[in-house]
Point group: C2
Chain length 403, copies 2
């Protein structure tokens, strides 16, 4: 098999950990597989370089930031290659450029345009383990080094796996897979063997931080089998994220997610003016504020209330926008003592009664649901924040996720 | 004028010092010059990376060391560019590859084969200050990053100045030029305004550490006007190293050099066997031992003595080689309590009496000369180490170098 492995900053955070990664690669190589490993900078390095840059400028040019920040991954790739060579394994570090990664010209947040895999294929046919400096490529027009932004090394790994048609892309972090819910809240949470891309996307956008949406989306698009596993317990099989068709037994519910970083915005007694809601949400979007759940209710007296949620990080920006609409409602208030509990599962599509079980479970615990939104594979509910953990545990039990 | 500037590790050793270098460049740019600056890694960075590599291997692959070590210069180039941008100056960092530097394939000690200056010329015509990451290029066959070895950033600067036909190449260090002798020994030592390439080469090989021979040789070959000056006192004009023809008033003696890192090897009563000396020196050369001064004397009794000097660093290797010849002499001894005092000056060619003044000056101080060797522009003498400083001071005075 041809395996693409990705090791994040924590996995290569010290020289001992780089040696540990070398041992993981050796074992996989000894099992007869070909290996391309994508590495991040040693943890802390990138932040150190950003601090350096900020002593000179609050707004450094993006192509210079790329020149600066791309160096950390190069260092890790060379060190890991040296560690493998020393153990008698042929290895070869490659920068993004050498690995054939061409991006657009949006420095610091470039998108991969194409990967010329010839160099990597040659190196593999010569028996090399390839160690690619993650997070970087070369901008197609300027021929300068570019970086892919946050999560860029994951993206590098997935894109390479897709371009070179690897059998699997294993993302090593410090957690050993995807769980039915956060084990810190529900100790009975179980690691999933398999999960579909769409479920993973829902869980990730709901706060499961193991994999970022950009990488999962790319894996889905390129049909890459993604595995989430840990470099600290490499003997534990991780979670495979794959096509829905590859999952034989589709559970009705795969996981429960909790997001406490939500603020509920309430507009009461909204002026009866055509298009007012549209103009509010356009304004919010123009200011890059992510509106999540929206409910509009018309009271018996004909007055309209508008409720929606935003991420806590957008709070200040949102207040500024809402200031413009203060004359369009009797009252606007903000509530951050709320949270979003979500139930995710592909099996929902073909099963009825999933939502009603959620509602009755929470009702049994006397938890009021303020807003509900559903998609084909997800039910999200806004509740009071103080009930967050209780809600997660009761739902986890109700759907028998600990079994 | 087009100026190539080079700033070494000490000059860019901290963020404050990088800001200081930005200020130097701004001033030169404000005077109306075009600037290409070549930078080293921040001092300590390269050694840190070497230590990292050595935790994994005592003998890391040279191309991986190049991938590893080239990162430090890239960091400095980006930071300096960011500092200049912030002050409103257009600047653009370039890796060795981006600057068009192509080397042979001898990783960690590559030689520059050619420089394609198109990219730099374009960037300058767009009004940029170019900041080149020194010490590196791209290996012509493998297309991988290569480094030039010790003094590589100086070489980068000189080679660029030659290729792009710059008006001057200024090497900034922590000393403000070339002195008539080491000011720590003779406080009356004077900074030279100008010195010829050949004199500089002699002084450098005699221990003046400001500029390395490889760079001076390349400057001579490419006809580059080299200036040695300090980034800590940029208001002080440095020393121009140039063609002899460019120096109108040629001093008879330009400087006095002292080298204490010498060991004298004595072979007494050497067997009267044809070719024995040749075979000794061939053996030493084969083991990369730099033999400097050689004297062979035939005693009244017909026995032959052979004296020569080697650098202290080659002592162990030399003893090993000499072991093979122990039956070819009555006695072999080693003396490290000696030093080499040298007088350098292009004017010697056309002046007589320079050597005899040296001999009489030392004789007046009761200093015995053990070995003498002369070239067109240099007289070197081996004396007892305890007289080193006295000899330097008396010669400095005898040739009126303090005037």
């Amino acid at each position: 098999m041809l395996k693409v492995l990705k090791f994040g900053g924590t996995s290569v955070g010290t020289l001992e950990r780089i040696q540990n990664v070398a041992n993981i690669i050796k074992k996989i190589k000894d099992e007869g597989h070909d290996v391309i490993a994508v590495v991040s900078a040693m943890s802390g390095e990138t932040n150190k370089l950003i601090e350096y840059a900020n002593t000179f400028s609050n707004d450094p040019k993006s192509d210079e930031m790329d020149m600066l920040l791309s160096s950390g991954e190069r260092v890790t790739s060379a060190l890991l290659s040296i560690a493998l060579n020393e153990q008698g394994y042929k290895a070869c570090s490659m920068s993004g450029r050498q690995a054939g990664i061409v991006t657009d010209n949006a420095h610091t947040k470039a998108r991969i345009e194409l990967i010329n895999t010839d160099g990597m294929k040659d190196a593999i046919s010569e028996g090399n383990v390839i160690i690619v400096a993650g997070f970087q490529g070369v901008a197609q027009d300027t021929n300068r080094v570019s970086t892919l932004g946050r999560g860029g090394s994951d993206l590098t790994a997935v894109a390479i796996a897709g371009a070179i048609e690897a059998d699997v892309c294993e993302i090593y972090t410090d957690v050993d897979g995807i769980y039915t819910t956060d084990p810190r809240i529900e100790p009975k949470a179980k690691k999933l063997d398999k999960i579909s891309y769409d479920e993973m996307l829902e869980l990730a956008s709901l706060g499961a931080k193991v994999l970022q949406n950009r990488s999962v989306e790319m894996a889905k698009k390129l049909n890459v089998n993604l595995v989430s596993r840990s470099s600290f317990t490499p003997e534990v099989e991780g979670t495979l994220i794959t096509k829905e068709e590859n999952i034989m037994e589709k559970p009705v519910v795969s996981g429960i997610a909790l997001d406490k970083n939500q603020i509920r915005v309430g507009m009461y007694g909204v002026t009866d003016k055509p298009g007012i809601a549209a103009s509010i949400f356009t304004s919010l979007a123009d200011n890059n504020i992510n509106v999540d759940m929206i409910v509009q209710t018309v009271g018996v007296d004909g007055s309209t209330d508008l409720d929606f949620t935003i991420p806590t990080t957008d709070f200040e920006a949102c207040k500024k926008v809402m200031e413009k609409f203060k004359n369009d409602a009797k009252n606007i208030d903000y509530n951050d003592a709320i949270c979003k509990v979500s139930i995710v599962g592909v099996g929902m599509k073909s099963h009825t009664g999933v939502a009603s079980k959620a509602f009755s479970t929470l009702a049994n615990e006397n938890i009021n649901i303020r807003i509900i939104s559903t998609s084909e594979i997800k039910i999200s509910m806004i509740i009071e924040e103080k009930y967050a953990e209780l809600a997660v545990r009761s739902l986890h039990e109700a759907y028998e996720l600990d079994k």
